[in-house]
């Protein structure tokens, strides 16, 4: 099958594209809407907002999540905030500036038209959330408050203490719940998608496993929407929830959907450092802390004194030194690499030497402890709970960790993949953040996709393609169900000597070393050789206990890890191909004399989209060229 990549970006000036496109798209007559159905997989910000909005319009919606309730999707853990171009603080923001900052922050590897639209709808998101009752932070006059965030010189981030993701998700969950109560959405919690069903080149449904009874069911619909989040857990340790996985998007890839930019993963600069081998996940400390916290390491190697005993002259506030205009608010990729660099020099802090200080001493002296408590109280509490140290008294220790994945399934301007009828929203798609996502932009994108983009573009697809006559009786459904059943049997037959978690941990180490914060040709090739060996080890030597017809967490984990073991290879192929440094992808062969990332626009100004060719086989690369007509393609400088 020859696949072509048509981004379907409408013609005309960027400021008018979305308006014109909305006019040109076909509309479904209100009375006909109930004839069309959509499956939404995932109930995070993108999934819940899409499901609710489509049901409000009158479509028949089914929504699936693996947790016991849609309210628990990992969007809930986002702390810092959500960006919008409201310009309430009167500090020079605009739609154009949010667009510009996002394209630049993404190191010029995002599609301009998508990013402009994102900035355009950002204001409506805030209006929507406030109408739902999201309790954003306010000032004494009763109006909304804003804070600043990395990669921007304006304050455009709306927040609800350090729980913005939770409050936005509860807003979307309440809209979703309202529709479930009205009977317009059928909700399937504790249900995991195992496969996508494609009939005659069009997505027609999904195969799922009921995680309580083990029953394999399939569901058919006129469109399938994946809002299944990112794949950071391929690294074993990440800030993602334990259950986050790549299965839904990877299975779609195996059915023909293109996977774009898989090597673009974001390493978040402010996480609590690893404490030992037992560690099951990493915890993020919101980037918003960098508004008031100052990042430093001792000037000298092998410093043994406690942080507070080190005099000012012997501290290196390296971000402020290297990037005077952005300072501690330098973008995530730059801050993470700078932290790694000082630790590699032997100036890292804590028992492992893999940590830097995030110090609030000056802010507390300037503003008082109460103000700091009001701004970040819950984050400080969380830090103390995990580390047993009081950050009001001594600086926090932080280190970069895997956090967000900019790569995802390839989608066109309508958020539809190359498989007609398969839409992909939120972190699961690749579209808006290029090679690096700016802080507080994930929440914005998830809600933009779900509330304000898919409700328009899906209608156009429905009208153009008509009501599907395919039901789950179709042989493709039966075949996919049989494959899923067979796969469960194969996993349950694994009675080797190593646990799935142990093998997953091994995979994570290989990826972190070969395809982590810094990457080079030799390291990537080594990883590429090691991954198939681990995969073989898994299928020979893993143990999966229990049976299928019951709650079986060992089986669930095994299925997810099996997919990570294939997906990891795809990531490395992508990283190997991209011989340039951009955003979250730092290729050591491509750097400036000062050690900054060096992009290669002449050769790599494209989206890499990969087509599946078989397990262990080199996937086929397709390129979507990126053109920049509105943003000046320049070397990123935060100095």
């Amino acid at each position: 099958m020859m696949t072509t990549l048509d981004s379907k970006v409408p013609a005309g000036p960027i400021t008018e594209k979305w308006d014109k496109h909305r006019f040109n798209m076909k509309l479904v007559n209100p009375a006909n809407k109930r004839k069309y159905s959509a499956i939404v997989v995932g109930s995070g910000l993108a999934g819940a907002s899409a499901a609710a909005s489509l049901a409000e319009l009158g479509y028949q919606v089914s929504c699936f999540c693996y947790q016991d309730s849609p309210r628990r999707a990992h969007s809930i853990a986002a702390q810092g905030g959500i960006n919008a171009a409201k310009n309430y603080p009167n500090d020079g923001d605009s739609i154009w500036r949010l667009f510009y900052d996002t394209v630049k922050g993404g190191d010029f590897r995002a599609r301009e038209a998508n990013v402009y639209r994102l900035a355009q709808v950002s204001d409506e998101i805030i209006d929507q959330c406030v109408a739902q009752g999201v309790p954003f932070a306010r000032d004494y006059g009763g109006l909304l408050d804003n804070r600043s965030f990395g990669g921007a010189l304006v304050s455009r981030t709306f927040y609800a203490r350090g729980q913005t993701g939770q409050q936005l998700l509860l807003g979307a969950y309440s809209a979703l719940s309202r529709q479930i109560g009205l009977g317009t959405i059928k909700m399937f919690p504790r249900t995991e998608m195992l496969d996508l069903v494609v009939v005659d080149g069009r997505a027609r449904g999904i195969v799922t496993r009921d995680m309580v009874t083990g029953k394999i069911f399939s569901y058919a619909a006129d469109a399938v929407i994946l809002a299944t989040g990112g794949y950071s857990n391929v690294f074993f340790l990440s800030t993602n929830a334990i259950g986050c996985n790549v299965t839904a998007t990877y299975r779609a890839y195996k059915r023909g959907a293109m996977f774009a930019n898989p090597c673009y993963t974001q390493i978040h600069p402010t996480c609590i450092p690893v404490s030992g081998e037992h560690q099951s996940k990493l915890t993020l400390m919101s980037e918003s802390l960098r508004n008031d916290g100052r990042i430093w390491v001792p000037l000298n190697k092998g410093e043994k004194r406690a942080a507070n005993d080190i005099p000012e002259a012997e501290r290196d506030y390296y971000l402020e030194r290297k990037y005077p205009s952005y300072g501690n608010l330098a973008p995530r990729d730059i801050s993470s690499r700078a932290a790694k660099q000082v630790c590699d020099e032997g100036r890292g802090v804590g028992d492992t030497g893999k940590g830097v200080y995030l110090d609030f001493r000056d802010a507390i002296n300037r503003l008082g402890e109460d103000v700091i408590r009001e701004r970040y109280g819950n984050l400080f509490d969380m830090y103390e709970r995990i580390t047993g140290e009081n950050p009001y008294k001594a600086p926090m220790r932080i280190y970069p960790a895997l956090h967000y994945t900019m790569g995802g399934l390839w989608v066109d301007y309508n958020l539809m993949s190359n498989i007609p009828g398969l839409f992909v929203l939120g972190e699961a798609n690749f579209s808006d953040h290029g090679a690096n996502r700016l802080g507080a932009s994930a929440l914005m994108q998830g809600l933009a996709d779900g509330y304000f983009i898919i409700p328009y573009t899906i209608g156009d697809f429905y009208v153009r393609s008509g009501v599907s006559k395919v039901t789950t009786d179709h042989e493709e459904f039966k075949k996919a169900e049989a494959e899923a059943t067979d796969r469960m049997k194969k996993l349950l037959a694994l009675k080797g000597k190593r646990t799935v978690v142990d093998i997953h941990r091994q995979l994570g180490k290989v990826l972190w070393e070969g395809c982590g914060m810094g990457r080079n040709e030799a390291g990537l090739k080594k990883a590429l050789a090691e991954i198939p060996v681990i995969r073989e080890e898994f299928w020979k030597n893993a143990i999966v206990t229990g049976g299928n017809e019951e709650i079986n967490q060992a089986l669930e984990r095994a299925g997810r890890v099996a997919d990570f073991l294939e997906f990891a290879e795809l990531m490395v192929y992508d990283a190997l191909m991209r011989r340039e440094s951009c955003g979250g992808h730092f290729r050591e062969e491509s750097q400036t004399k000062e050690g900054e990332a060096l992009r290669n626009d002449a050769e790599y100004s494209y989206v890499s989209a990969w087509e599946y060719t078989g397990v262990g086989k080199t996937p086929t690369l397709y390129k979507e060229p990126l053109t920049f007509e509105n943003v000046l393609l320049a070397e990123r400088s935060y100095k």
């Binding site: 909005s53 209006d127 919690p189 309580v212 709650i551």
Partner: protein, 256 residues
């Protein structure tokens, strides 16, 4: 490093009677979270070909509300304002015996081991835990000033993670703290006032239908709430409810 004795509730499925089974947790580091300690016990069980202890968990940073274990008789364990996933082993000492059980409440049937069915909480939200606005067409966010104190109060209630510890701690298995957190979140905001009568009526009915008990002011719920939500929201909820009765009464008699 510590060695601990665990006494864990094992129950094969909803029909099984269930029982306490003893396990040893060896070489536990004080830096481990409680769930990481259980991970290690489970890894050992798997290596022995035995079924691991199943428990709900996901974000492991105290916000998703999925983890739900009663530790030594206290939902979420001994630390105040802390979910099981954020409870660290430094709060235990070498040689301790630890009882681990699921949430216990009629409305939360045990599904397996430590996993219970909390869908009753979702049903309460589906009945009225929302503001009835569709997507689109909302007024500018700053067109509705809200006093900072009200917004903060609302946020105090909205912080609820829906874990159900309040129910598990209550002698009556009452969900009043959970329901009042949602009612309080909206009652403090102008957006929520538009349909306050409908909301409180519907949510209370869903709560009663699910088999949750009533509140008799033990305040155990507040004591175990990982987000430390105050029982004053229960008082507020009662006022909202009473107000509705009066309101509807007047409506019936044409007193408006």
């Amino acid at each position: 490093m510590m060695n601990l004795k665990l006494k864990v509730w094992r129950q094969k499925n909803a029909q099984d009677k269930g029982r306490i089974v003893d396990y040893d947790a060896k070489d536990v580091s004080p830096d481990m979270s409680f769930l990481e300690m259980l991970d290690i016990v489970n890894e050992e069980l798997i290596l022995k070909g035995q079924e691991p202890i199943v428990f709900d968990h996901d974000c492991r940073e105290g916000i998703c509300g999925m983890c739900s274990q009663t530790i030594n008789g206290i939902p979420h364990g001994p630390e105040r304002g802390t979910t099981v996933c954020q409870l660290h082993m430094r709060h235990f000492k070498d040689g301790d015996t630890i009882f681990i059980e699921p949430w216990r409440a009629r409305a939360f049937p045990v599904m397996k081991d430590l996993i219970v069915d909390r869908s009753a909480l979702d049903k309460i939200i589906q009945a009225g835990g929302f503001v009835s606005v569709d997507t689109g067409g909302c007024p500018d966010a700053n067109s509705l000033p809200i006093a900072k104190d009200d917004a903060e109060d609302s946020m105090d209630a909205a912080a609820c993670i829906g874990c159900g510890a309040c129910v598990a701690a209550c002698k009556n298995a009452s969900a009043m703290l959970f329901v009042s957190a949602k009612v309080g979140h909206f009652a403090k905001l102008p957006q929520g006032k538009v349909e306050r009568e409908r909301r409180i009526q519907a949510m209370v009915k869903a709560m009663d239908d699910a088999g949750f008990g009533n509140c008799t002011n033990y305040y155990e719920c507040e004591a175990v709430c990982p987000k430390e939500i105050s029982v004053r929201f229960i008082a507020l909820m009662n006022r909202e409810y009473l107000r509705t009765i009066n309101h509807l009464g007047r409506k019936k008699s044409g007193g408006f």
